[in-house]
C-alpha cells in the first residue's frame, strides 16, 4: 500500500533558520489582550508535569482554566515516578554543551524520526525550565559551592542532567503541582479531581469540550470550553506489565482519536533495559531500576542454557558477559534499545536466570571489589534497598536480576508546531503527543518535554488560535453534541455492566498485554504482527462477550473504570500492530527483525520511511487511514548508529 500525503498533515512549521524560528514566531503570533483572556475557557486534562504546568501557566495568564485529573490529587500523576533527571542545555559544567548540541543529540537519539523544528524549540526552552523549577523550590542536587550539580545521563557525552536524588520527577511534579494549587487558590483554575475524561466533543470540526465521569458518584458531566488540552500521558500499559502506574491509560487520547484526531507513530515504544523481572503470574506491574546502575554493574548470563546453579557457584569461565563481548567499545553502556534487545535474545535462547528464567544478571561483585562496599552503597544504596524490598535479595551479595520492560511511548496524538492536533482547538502535550522524541527518547528528556510544553510552548501558541475566537461564546452543554456524547457514554457504561460474563477485566488485559509484548515488543517481525492482527480482534470479541463488571455505575467502581480503558487498549494494540507492520524499517524503539544489519543492528530506510505515520479513525471495525508527514533534516546529518 502506497501511503499518500494529504493536506491534513501540515505541521505549520514557520519559515526561516531554525535557530531563530521560535523567537521570530513568538513575535508573529496573535496575542490575546490581558483583559480578554478571562473571556476564554480552557480545559486541561491531566495534572502530570505537562498538564499541571500548562494549567498553572494558563491560569497565571488570566485564562479561565478547568483542570481535570482522575486521581484524588493532582500530585499523584505518574510523572512523579521519574527517577533520573531532567536535561537542560545550561552548560554550567562548561563541557561544551549548547542548545544546538541538545537539539542535535535529541534528533540523533530519536533515530532521525522527529521534527527538527519542535526539537530545537524544546532545547531552547530547556534552560528556562531549570530556572523555573529552581525558583519554585525544587531541591535539585547542589555542589559544595551551593550551585546546581549536573551529571551525564544515558550515554550523553556532556553533563547536562539536573537531578534531585533519585526523585527528580517527584520534585518537579511537586513544583508544578504547587504552581497549580496557587492558581486554584487564586480562583483562576477550577480543579476537578477524581474525574475521568470519557469523550472529547467536537462541533463543526472544532473541539468544544469534554465529557467526564465523576469517579465517586458516577455522574457523567459535559464541560465546554474554547480549547481542550490533553496532557494524559502515554499508553505503555497496553503491555499490561510496564513501569507505568496502574491507572495510566490511552483512553483520553484514544477517544480524541475516535473524534478525528490523528494518532501518530503508535509503534514507537520504548523498552527500558533495567527493570525487575516478574516474579509470578499475577504480577501487577514492573519496577524500574535506574539506568545508572549499568555504570558499575556487569551484565551476564550463564553460558549454558537451563543452568541450575546459583550465580555464585557459576565459575567465571562459564559466564557470558554478552554486552561486553559484542560491544567492546560501549560494553554495558550501550543504548537502551540495544541493551534490551540483547537481553531478550539471550533469554529467548534459554539462558534466562531467576525462578521464572526471565532475567539476566546485573552483577556488582567486581565494582564492590574495586571500589569497596561503602562506595557502592553511597552510589546505589537506595536502589539496592528498593530491590531488596521487592525481591528479598540483596544486590551486595547476589547479582541483581533485570529484564527490559515497557517504559515510555514516543507515539501519540499527532500535533503541529503549535502542539495542536489536526482537530482545531484540541491540543496534546507531554507524553500524550508524538512530537519530540522521534523513534526513541533520550534519558532525562521526558520531564524536559512535559514541562517545556506546559510552561513555555502551549501558553504562547494557544493564544494565537484563541485570538480569532474573541467574542464567541462556548458551545452550551445542552447542545446536541454534548447530550449525544453523554448519552453515548451512559450507553457504554450500561453495556459493560450488563455484559453477563465470567472473567475479570484484568484477566483480559493480561492476555492482551502478553500478546502485545510478544509481538509488538522489543523485536517485531511480519509473521508475528500478522498473527497478532488476527489474534487481537478475536480476544476483543471474547472480551466484549465474556467480561464481568460487577457493581453499579453510581459508586466508586474500579472494574468499571478499567473496562473502558482496556477496551481502548484493544483498539490501540491493533493499530500498533498495523503501524509496526507498515513501517518496513528498524528505527529506535521499533526493531523489525527483517531490517537489520549483518551485525544485528537496526537498519533505517531513510528513503522510504523518513516520515511520521499518522492514522485517521474511520469508524469501528473499519481500518484506519495512514497519513504521512514528511520529515526533512536540514540541520542534522543523518547517520547510522554504531556502538561497537
Amino acid at each position: 500500500m502506497e501511503p499518500t500525503p494529504t493536506p491534513l498533515l501540515d505541521p505549520k512549521v514557520p519559515n526561516g533558520p531554525i535557530a531563530d524560528m521560535w523567537e521570530n514566531h513568538k513575535f508573529s503570533m496573535n496575542l490575546v489582550n490581558p483583559s480578554n483572556k478571562r473571556k476564554f475557557e480552557v480545559i486541561v486534562v491531566g495534572t502530570g508535569l505537562a498538564g499541571a504546568s500548562a494549567a498553572a501557566t494558563l491560569g497565571e495568564l488570566g485564562y479561565r482554566v478547568k483542570s481535570f485529573t482522575f486521581h484524588d490529587s493532582p500530585r499523584r500523576a505518574h510523572s512523579i515516578a521519574a527517577q533520573g533527571g531532567i536535561n537542560g542545555a545550561k552548560n554550567y559544567p562548561n563541557d561544551g554543551d549548547s542548545v544546538h548540541r541538545l537539539f542535535y543529540d535529541t534528533v540523533k537519539g530519536g533515530d532521525y524520526r522527529s521534527r527538527e523544528a519542535n526539537v530545537h524549540r524544546l532545547a531552547e526552552v530547556s534552560v528556562n525550565i531549570i530556572d523555573q523549577a529552581t525558583a519554585q523550590g525544587v531541591p535539585f542536587a547542589r555542589d559544595y559551592g551551593g550551585l546546581l550539580d549536573n551529571r551525564s545521563f544515558g550515554g550523553a557525552q556532556v553533563s547536562r542532567t539536573f537531578y534531585a536524588r533519585g526523585q527528580t520527577g517527584q520534585q518537579l511534579l511537586l513544583g508544578a503541582y504547587s504552581a497549580l494549587m496557587r492558581q486554584v487558590a487564586a480562583g483562576s483554575v477550577e480543579l476537578h479531581n477524581r474525574s475521568e475524561l470519557l469523550d472529547v466533543v467536537v462541533k463543526d470540526g472544532r473541539a468544544c469540550g469534554i465529557v467526564t465521569r465523576d469517579l465517586l458518584s458516577g455522574e457523567i458531566t459535559p464541560h465546554s470550553a474554547h480549547a481542550v488540552v490533553l496532557a494524559t500521558g502515554g499508553y505503555g500499559n497496553v503491555y499490561f506489565l510496564s513501569t507505568n502506574a496502574m491507572m495510566c491509560n490511552v483512553t483520553a487520547a484514544w477517544r480524541a482519536h475516535r473524534r478525528g484526531a490523528l494518532f501518530a507513530n503508535p509503534c514507537y515504544t520504548q523498552i527500558h533495559p533495567t527493570c525487575i523481572p516478574a516474579s509470578d503470574d499475577f504480577q501487577s506491574k514492573l519496577t524500574l531500576m535506574s539506568e545508572s546502575l549499568r555504570n558499575d554493574g556487569r551484565i551476564w548470563v550463564p553460558s549454558a542454557s537451563d543452568e541450575g546453579r546459583l550465580p555464585g557457584d557459576i565459575p567465571e569461565a562459564e559466564r557470558d558477559y554478552y554486552l561486553e563481548r559484542k560491544y567492546p567499545a560501549f560494553g554495558n553502556l550501550v543504548p537502551r534499545d540495544v541493551a534490551s534487545r540483547n537481553a531478550k535474545t539471550v533469554v529467548d535462547a534459554g539462558h534466562g536466570v531467576g525462578p521464572l528464567l526471565n532475567g539476566v544478571y546485573l552483577d556488582f561483585a567486581a565494582a564492590i571489589e574495586r571500589d569497596g562496599h561503602d562506595a557502592i552503597a553511597a552510589r546505589y544504596g537506595n536502589l539496592f534497598d528498593m530491590y531488596q524490598r521487592i525481591t528479598g535479595e540483596t544486590p551486595y551479595s547476589t547479582p541483581m536480576r533485570i529484564y527490559p520492560a515497557s517504559h515510555y511511548t514516543m507515539g501519540g496524538l499527532w500535533v503541529d508546531y503549535h502542539l495542536m492536533t489536526n482537530v482545531p482547538g484540541l491540543y496534546a502535550i507531554g507524553e500524550a503527543n508524538f512530537s519530540d522524541h522521534g523513534a526513541n527518547r533520550l534519558g532525562a528528556s521526558a520531564l524536559m518535554q512535559g514541562l517545556a510544553d506546559g510552561y513555555f510552548v502551549l501558553p504562547y501558541t494557544i493564544g494565537d488560535d484563541l485570538a480569532d475566537l474573541l467574542g464567541d461564546p462556548v458551545v452550551p452543554t445542552n447542545d446536541p453534541v454534548f447530550t449525544s456524547a453523554v448519552a453515548g457514554i451512559e450507553d457504554e457504561t450500561g453495556r459493560w455492566l450488563s455484559t453477563d460474563g465470567t472473567r475479570s477485566v484484568d484477566h483480559f488485559h493480561r492476555e492482551l498485554g502478553r500478546m502485545v509484548w510478544d509481538n509488538i515488543g522489543m523485536a517485531r517481525n511480519e509473521r508475528g504482527l500478522r498473527q497478532v492482527l488476527s489474534d487481537i480482534p478475536a480476544l476483543r470479541e471474547e472480551f466484549c462477550r465474556d467480561v464481568r463488571v460487577l457493581g453499579s455505575a453510581n459508586t466508586l467502581n474500579q472494574s468499571l473504570e478499567k473496562v473502558g480503558r482496556v477496551a481502548d487498549f484493544f483498539d490501540l494494540a491493533e493499530l500498533m500492530a498495523r503501524d509496526a507492520l507498515e513501517r518496513e524499517e528498524s528505527c529506535g524503539g521499533h526493531f523489525r527483525e527483517e531490517h537489520q544489519t549483518t551485525e544485528g543492528e537496526a537498519r533505517r530506510d531513510d528513503e522510504n520511511f523518513s516520515h511520521v505515520a499518522a492514522w485517521e479513525w474511520n469508524g469501528p471495525d473499519i481500518a484506519q487511514t495512514r497519513h504521512i508527514e514528511e520529515l526533512t533534516f536540514d540541520n542534522v546529518a543523518l547517520s547510522q548508529r554504531s556502538y561497537k
Binding site: I80, P139, L174, M246, S284, R548, L556
Partner: protein
C-alpha cells in the same frame, strides 16, 4: 524463596460514606514474592469470579512514590515494614497462618469513600493555602543566581521527599497532620526561594491544617509510619515558625 503461605484476610468493607462498615474474612494462599497489593488483586479476581464485588483499594505507581496507596495493616499505617509504603510491602513480611487485619486510613479529615478508599483532599487544601512559592512561569531568574548551601538543600530535600500519603495522619492517635504540613513548610522555609512568603505561608497552612486535623502531642507515631522517614524535627521547626510568624506578620503589616 518462592514459598506459599496461607493467611486470613480480615478486611474492612463499607458501601459508601454513610453506610455502616464491617469486617469481612477471606482465606488466601499466596507466594511470598507477591506484593501485598498483588495479594489483594488476586483476592479481588477470586471475588469477581465468584460474583462478589471486588474490594476497593487505591494504588497507582506501586513504586512507593505517588502516595496513592495506604492501608492500615495489623494496626500499623502501611504495615509492618519500616520506611515502606503499602505498595512496596511484600508478603514475605508475613508468616504462614497469620491473620491480617486491613482497615482504611482513618481520621475525620479522611472520610471513607468506599471499603479501603478514603478522601484525603484536606491535604490538598493545606497546600492550596500557601504550599507554594509564588513565581509565575517565565519570571524566574537564572537558577545559579542564588546559591543554596548544600546542607540546606539536602535538608530541604529530606522534607520535600514527602509523598502525601497521609500515613502520618492515620497513625497519629490525635489524627494530626503535623508531619505532612511541617514537611511542606520546612521544605520551603529552608530554601532562599521560600523566604519572602515564609511567615504568611506558615501561618496560613497551620490554620487550614487545624481546621481539619487534630493537635500534635508529640507521640512520634507519624515518623514511624512515614514511608519516607520524614524527621520529627520539622514539626519542631513548624511550631517555632508559627509563633514567630504571628509576631512577624504583625510587623510586616505595619502594626508595630
Amino acid at each position: 524463596m518462592n514459598d506459599t503461605i496461607s493467611v486470613t484476610i480480615k478486611v474492612w468493607r463499607q458501601e459508601n460514606p454513610d453506610a455502616p462498615g464491617r469486617f469481612e474474612t477471606h482465606p488466601q494462599e499466596i507466594t511470598t514474592d507477591a506484593s501485598f497489593l498483588e495479594m489483594l488483586d488476586l483476592l479481588n479476581e477470586q471475588l469477581n469470579d465468584r460474583g462478589e464485588e471486588p474490594i476497593v483499594f487505591e494504588s497507582d505507581c506501586r513504586e512507593g512514590i505517588c502516595g496513592t496507596c495506604g492501608l492500615m495493616i495489623n494496626g500499623r499505617a502501611h504495615g509492618p515494614q519500616k520506611a515502606t509504603a503499602t505498595c512496596q510491602l511484600h508478603m514475605r513480611e508475613f508468616e504462614d497462618g497469620d491473620e491480617i487485619v486491613i482497615e482504611p486510613f482513618r481520621a475525620a479529615g479522611f472520610p471513607v469513600i468506599r471499603d479501603l478508599a478514603v478522601d484525603r483532599s484536606p491535604l490538598d487544601h493545606i497546600i492550596e493555602s500557601g504550599g507554594f512559592i509564588s513565581v509565575g512561569s517565565g519570571a524566574a531568574p537564572d537558577a545559579n543566581l542564588t546559591p543554596v548551601a548544600r546542607e540546606a538543600a539536602e535538608k530541604a530535600f529530606d522534607a520535600a521527599a514527602c509523598i502525601g500519603c497521609g500515613a502520618c495522619v492515620a497513625a497519629c492517635p490525635n489524627s494530626a497532620a503535623q508531619l505532612f504540613t511541617s514537611a511542606k513548610v520546612g521544605h520551603m522555609a529552608l530554601l532562599p526561594q521560600g523566604q519572602p512568603e515564609r511567615w504568611s505561608r506558615t501561618e496560613a497552612m497551620v490554620e487550614v491544617m487545624e481546621s481539619y486535623f487534630g493537635s500534635c502531642t508529640n507521640h512520634g507515631e507519624c515518623h514511624e509510619a512515614c514511608p519516607k522517614e520524614i524527621s520529627l524535627d520539622f514539626i519542631a521547626y513548624l511550631n517555632r515558625d508559627y509563633v514567630k510568624a504571628k509576631v512577624k506578620n504583625r510587623a510586616l503589616s505595619g502594626q508595630r
